[in-house]
Point group: C2
Chain length 438, copies 2
């Protein structure tokens, strides 16, 4: 792995004090950040490397961490529209069952993860049916992935039994735990699709191996009503009762919460993933972000799958998170751009248990970083880089992506992968996907 | 002007029946659409033109109509953050007074209108201090503009008196009314900054010449409180009392409305411009779009200025308009992508009194159209082009823009204008802009 020197960069570190280094230089060796300083300091003048990349004055920042995705669902993007979550899921599952095999899951994963990578997400937490295929796709793209075995009580894909799910969750850990680019997790679908017993079993597998426990929670009012009818409890209280909250738990959505539930989540240090675009589009609602932020919950950001969104754009998710908190509360300072940029970077790393190695540009951390073009008509003038990143920048401004110092996206092109071929394969599959619902 | 033939296009017409022509061809002659049909029909085979453009299977659709903008405010993008509208405006006006001259207004207008054009807006309604400069910038870019004299009772830019505003509003009409690319309007700032007498005077000038009457209205709760305190009335009732509503009126925002006001707007056939990003970011609130849509008000979409937004992205505005209506009402079918795409195209044309010539691809209309790339990882597969345009596409997908058949943006580059030079001039001005608030 070559040593790299990035020069002439406006460095947005996302460190604890929101440091920005104007006219900065960053050195990378063996995939780690070894120096980070202003050009013209005497140390910077002595830095050298085989590979020198000029940022041309553009922004250098940590790769984004997309904390909730179903990458392979990109195969079904735009297939089911204008339905609320529950009816929508019913349709989605019919299409998934008809189409998904390990091979098509790999194809969809490459498509969805390529979109993530091209838009600057270097780490993705993904929940899907064939997690080994998701890992394979992530490795082919050179990005970091957190995923693992799912649990699902209803008849799912591939006719798997509960025993199969247990085997696969354990097996995933055995296969991938020594891989630095994989963060293993156990991902039961949700409390309305997995029994308390099976959720607890998933949690015990996660705990046994020190893995994350990730599930959908409190996404819709209908889900709250369902859990209330079945267990006479709200979703978060139900999870709390079964000891499923905690520092290694990651709950996606949390749109419908009362004060007590917010306090349970805060006390247990449970991590939350906000998915604002999906929640709006499916009519699920708007999460109480300001209240959760005030309660000091570790808030992170995700895109959800492209079948709800309809894309995988963390820039949109950041802008929505910040804008909705301001707009819904009618308070222009309800949440700041700094706070939201941290949600999409270092807070994600914290939720993954990787804040020592990911989520900010600091010496010793993994060199997962991106370059963001600011030489265009929507970025000029630029008075505050962080406000610009949350409220002005977009996926198309990401020109280069590095993971562990590897240059995986170079001038908007994925290195070493024929993405046109992937697009063509998806287009070939599209008529069957459409027919699956006819 | 060359005759043009666009081939191999997925044509989204935005006509009354949301027609889509797969594998389509469109002919343009003398700046007007002369044919629109499927390739392989016998008529299409006989079409010919000097200039042939292949859309390569991409989407061909009408140019977007951005119905509320302050293009030159792009100079102040990101300068004032985390403040509610009223305090924010106080700061913005200090910076505007320090910086704006006809020359800097031209520079800011070029910057803001270039961003509009590059992202696919071919017509912009703009409110600003030196409207002749806005027109000059629009003409230099080859786009269509609706603007005109403003009215503002407080000490404004350039020390103008009420008499000056009257002169300028009339003079604007005299100068530009014969220009096909200019749609003249009179644009008093708002009912909290312009007295009823002066609003009425502005309206009489508009009516005398058959111009549009455009103003900010009901943007914040503070504005409602202010008008209530001053005139013992709500904003829309106040405008109604002074006979300022109607088919040639365009009201920007309308976030804070009661049922009676929605009904007044509907009965008077007043046009409304939704500005969802600005309303969220300034903490103004969320407009009651579903209720206004049900009341059959002509809803159009705008970006507002980049000083609030912080960019001029109609794609984001479309996605927010549709997503917020679904999310706030917790109804996945509260508003459809078709309805929102019409708001950003033909409804804008209706509000401008130009539905016979703009806003959709139909034979005889002006050839204002754009090409939208769908060969990328966030656009594949594509089951429904209209859903994709509202929920998946973005500004960077716009590759080519034509206005009256002129190829004004070619492969993402503005024709005949050195945009880098403009960027550099704005960068040179940026330190003074920053210093204006220090």
């Amino acid at each position: 792995m070559d040593d790299i020197l990035i020069k002439d960069a406006l460095i947005v570190t996302c460190d604890g004090s929101h440091s920005i280094i104007e006219n900065g230089v960053m050195a990378v060796s063996q995939g780690k950040i070894t120096a980070l300083e202003q050009t013209g300091t005497s140390a910077a003048e002595n830095l050298s490397a085989k590979k020198i990349v000029s940022a041309n004055g553009n922004i250098l920042m940590p790769g984004l961490i997309n904390m909730h995705c179903h990458a392979a669902d990109s195969l079904f993007r735009g297939l089911v529209e204008n339905l609320p979550l529950e009816e929508w899921l019913g349709r989605v599952w019919i299409a998934e069952k008809a189409i998904l095999t390990p091979e098509t899951t790999y194809l969809g994963s490459i498509l969805g993860l390529a979109e993530n990578l091209l838009s600057g997400s270097t780490t993705v937490m993904d929940m899907f049916w064939y997690p080994d295929q998701t890992v394979k796709a992530a490795k082919d793209l050179g990005m970091r992935i957190s995923t693992g075995g799912i649990f699902f009580d209803l008849p799912g894909i591939g006719g798997r039994s509960h025993k199969d799910f247990i085997f696969e969750a354990n097996n995933f850990y055995q296969k991938h735990s020594s891989d630095d680019s994989v963060i293993p997790a156990v991902l039961p679908h949700g409390s309305y699709t997995v029994s308390p017993q099976n959720l607890s079993e998933a949690k015990s597998i996660a705990d046994r191996h020190g893995m994350l426990f990730c599930t959908h929670a409190a996404e819709t009012q209908a889900e709250q009503n369902d859990i209330k009818a079945r267990y006479d409890n709200s979703v978060i209280r139900h999870l709390d009762k079964h000891k499923l909250l905690g520092e290694t738990s990651v709950l996606a959505h949390c749109v419908h919460l009362d004060e007590k539930e917010i306090s349970l989540l805060a006390q247990s240090k449970t991590n939350i993933v906000l998915n604002p675009m999906s929640n709006l589009k499916l009519g699920s609602g708007i999460a109480p972000v300001k209240a959760m932020h005030r309660a000091e919950i570790n808030l992170t950001i995700g895109t959800d799958g492209a079948i709800s969104g309809n894309d995988l754009d963390m820039w949109l998710a950041m802008r929505l998170t910040c804008g909705l908190a301001k707009g819904v509360n009618m308070e222009a300072d309800a949440l700041t751009a700094e706070q939201v940029l941290h949600m999409a970077t270092i807070n994600g790393a914290k939720a993954l248990g990787k804040s020592n190695t990911l989520g900010s540009l600091e010496i010793g951390k993994n060199a997962d970083f991106i370059l963001v073009d600011i030489n265009n008509s929507h970025s000029i003038p630029l008075f505050d880089p962080i406000t610009h990143l949350v409220f002005g920048a977009g996926r198309s401004d990401v020109t280069d992506v590095f993971v562990s110092g590897k240059h995986v996206v170079k001038n908007k092109k994925i290195s070493g992968l024929d993405i046109e071929k992937i697009h063509e394969e998806v287009r070939q599959l599209a008529p069957s996907i459409k027919a699956s619902l006819e």
